[in-house]
């Protein structure tokens, strides 16, 4: 990914460090960030970064200001420049640093510290832009400084020798934060957190100490577990799925959830609960199967080093949190894990409903195991597919799906919000989205089909579906409807492509099944298929009701 760093201090070291992972651009010369932004012929615009980091040192911005108002003027000027970047790079992520303004001025105590006023002014300004635009985010450098302390974060020596304000520790922390922000922007995120109960969600062993004996309270020692639970619930609300793996009797566990006055988390906050005496690696594997998620999207928390080791040695893909020896650090462990594995820039509606969506999915699975045949089961779900051309408010979710979907993804092409918008503008592209609901609930937007029209042929560039709704022949309905639609526009052929990856094996024969003819197998193993329209294929299963929503383009 291409990233640009614009700064009013020497950011070369940061650029150097990030260059091992990204293609980094930073303007030549010192403090040239303003010119670089204002001149639309500058290298910055030619470089076309996917993410821009604006890293500003607050003291430098305001050092010549003689009054509070003076400083506010300075900040407003800088801010106007930044708003220009936001306007000119609509499809790139722009991270604007918060300001930490070191109190270097000598002043009597009864004077208002301008630094605090300026920091707050800047923070409000940035946030007004954040709430207005989808691609602007705050890079909260001030929060890093607060955590570490200014004496640790800055180095006068590096400032006077190289115009670098940060110490080695400060510089390392900034780089780490930037990397988290960038991977969140790229949509790389773990999905499920599996948690142990005894000595993790509460103190003590429920099976031995009973509900009145465990440590969990509003105040003092027991509140470390309560605070930990509060953070877990917030994590869940950003779209992370919670599951339990605990060596316990389910009755004891339910007793705590139903009757303990200080439990923050409720049974409904979890998608799967494994309270049994099975080995934990087996439980985690089962959870992954039930939720249809890869093990490499799992994070595991357990206080017991033996359990940690068992999971580590059997399930290498699962990330295991370093459980603190001192449990007052439980909350901090989770905050660090959030930054490392789960950081979210903005939660979509699907994210906040994720727990419910997965719970409904499990109900479906249970219904399936009691049905007489798969087809009967699918019919009994009363599936409705709402199919239409992409709408503006869906762009983010569609980009997100191209990044997250690995199994039912014929070509695994990853697209940013910008890429999607570009194709929406082109007369040759059609992007269809499908939302699905059934008698158990609404699954939301779960499928994307992107077509490129070339003469009388429509090429399927991307066809993907969330793994939650796989195996219900929804793809049969979508493809038939889309073929119908383009056929009316005079398209005679549809071409499909399968590019194999280690994960998309489930769809390797999809086009064969849908009645497409294999045209070509490339050296890399990818296959090209074609069908002529109108297609008459009786092998397709149309078990869902399609509601075709025409949207005027």
């Amino acid at each position: 990914m291409k990233i640009a760093i614009l700064s009013n201090i020497n950011s070369s070291l940061i650029a150097q460090k990030l260059a091992s992972k990204y293609e980094v651009y930073q303007p030549a010369g010192y403090n040239t960030w303003v010119q670089e932004i204002l001149d639309t012929n500058s290298e910055l615009y030619r470089f076309a970064p996917k993410a821009i980091l604006i890293l500003l040192d607050g003291y430098e911005l305001t050092k010549n200001s003689n009054s509070i108002d003076d400083g506010i003027q300075e900040l407003n000027t800088a801010f106007t420049t930044i708003a220009t970047v936001a306007d000119n790079f609509l499809d790139s992520a722009i991270f604007i640093s918060s300001l930490d303004i070191v109190q270097r001025r000598i002043m009597p105590l009864n004077k208002i510290r301008p630094e605090r006023v300026w920091e707050w002014h800047w923070y409000n300004k940035v946030n007004s832009l954040v709430s207005e635009k989808r691609n602007i985010f705050i890079a909260d450098i001030k929060e890093l400084v607060e955590r570490m302390g200014r004496d640790n974060f800055y180095s006068s020596k590096l400032w006077y020798t190289g115009s670098i304000p940060y110490s080695l520790k400060g510089f390392t922390a900034i780089c780490k934060r930037i990397e988290s922000l960038l991977s969140a922007w790229q949509g790389q995120r773990y999905k499920c957190l599996v948690i142990d109960l005894d000595n993790t969600l509460w103190g003590g062993v429920i099976g031995e100490e009973g509900i009145d004996g465990i440590e969990l309270s509003n105040i003092k020692e027991g509140s470390r577990y309560r605070d930990f639970q509060l953070r877990l619930r917030e994590l869940k609300d950003t779209g992370v799925i919670l599951a339990i793996s605990s060596k316990n009797n389910i009755e004891d566990v339910m007793d705590v959830f139903n009757n303990h006055p200080h439990m923050v988390l409720k049974i409904d906050d979890f998608v799967v609960i494994k309270a049994n005496w099975q080995p934990k690696p087996k439980n985690i594997r089962d959870i992954a199967l039930e939720l249809n998620l890869g093990l490499n999207s799992f994070v595991f928390i357990d206080d017991n080093p033996i359990e940690q080791e068992a999971v580590r040695s059997e399930l290498q893909d699962v990330a295991i949190l370093d459980f603190p020896k001192d449990t007052t650090q439980l909350e901090k462990m989770l905050l660090d894990a959030y930054e490392r594995y789960f950081l979210t820039l903005n939660a979509t509606l699907e994210d906040s409903n994720k727990t419910r969506i997965y719970q409904e999915e499990l109900q479906r699975k249970r219904a399936m195991s009691s049905a007489t045949s798969i087809d009967d089961y699918i019919k009994s779900l009363n599936i409705e597919v709402f199919l239409h051309l992409i709408k503006e408010e869906e762009v983010e979710r569609v980009a997100q799906l191209t990044h997250k979907t690995n199994q039912f993804n014929l070509t695994t092409r990853r697209y940013t919000v910008g890429d999607i918008r570009e194709r929406m503008k082109s007369p040759n592209w059609r992007i269809y989205t499908a939302s699905v609901c059934d008698k158990f609930g609404d699954s939301g937007l779960i499928s994307v089909l992107m077509l490129e029209l070339k003469g009388n042929t429509a090429m399927i560039d991307t066809f993907l579906m969330s793994c939650r709704v796989m195996n219900r022949y929804i793809e049969d309905c979508i493809i038939s409807e889309v073929e119908n639609s383009v056929s009316k526009e005079g398209i005679g052929f549809v071409m499909g492509e399968y590019i194999p990856t280690p994960k998309n094996v489930p769809v390797k024969d999809l086009y064969d099944r849908l009645g497409y003819a294999l045209m070509l197998i490339n050296e890399d193993g990818s296959k090209i298929y074609r069908i002529s329209l109108p297609s008459y294929d009786n092998k397709r299963k149309k078990l869902a009701k399609v509601i075709w929503e025409e949207v005027q383009s």
């Binding site: 070291l13 150097q16 020596k157 590096l158 006077y160 190289g162 670098i164 080695l168 520790k169 510089f171």
Partner: protein, 75 residues
């Protein structure tokens, strides 16, 4: 001394065999003015020493850095 050179090599991103205590500032592409600052900061952190700004212009070879660290640790 071997450890010192290995550490410096990892900071500079070069093979240890390509540098020695005689290696001089600005004679290899990796050791430019930015690397000079980086070396000061990394060496201060690694060896828990303080290099005053007045001494930095005198640190011309890796030997100078090495002697400085050795001297500081003896005190």
């Amino acid at each position: 001394m071997k450890n010192f050179l290995e550490f410096v090599a990892s900071v500079m991103g070069v093979y240890p065999s390509t540098i020695s205590l005689e290696t001089k500032y600005n004679t290899i592409p990796q050791w430019d003015s930015l690397m000079q600052i980086r070396l000061v900061m990394e060496i201060e952190d690694k060896y828990n020493v303080e290099i005053p700004i007045e001494r930095i212009p005198e640190l011309i070879t890796l030997g100078d850095f090495y002697e400085y660290v050795k001297g500081a640790n003896e005190h």
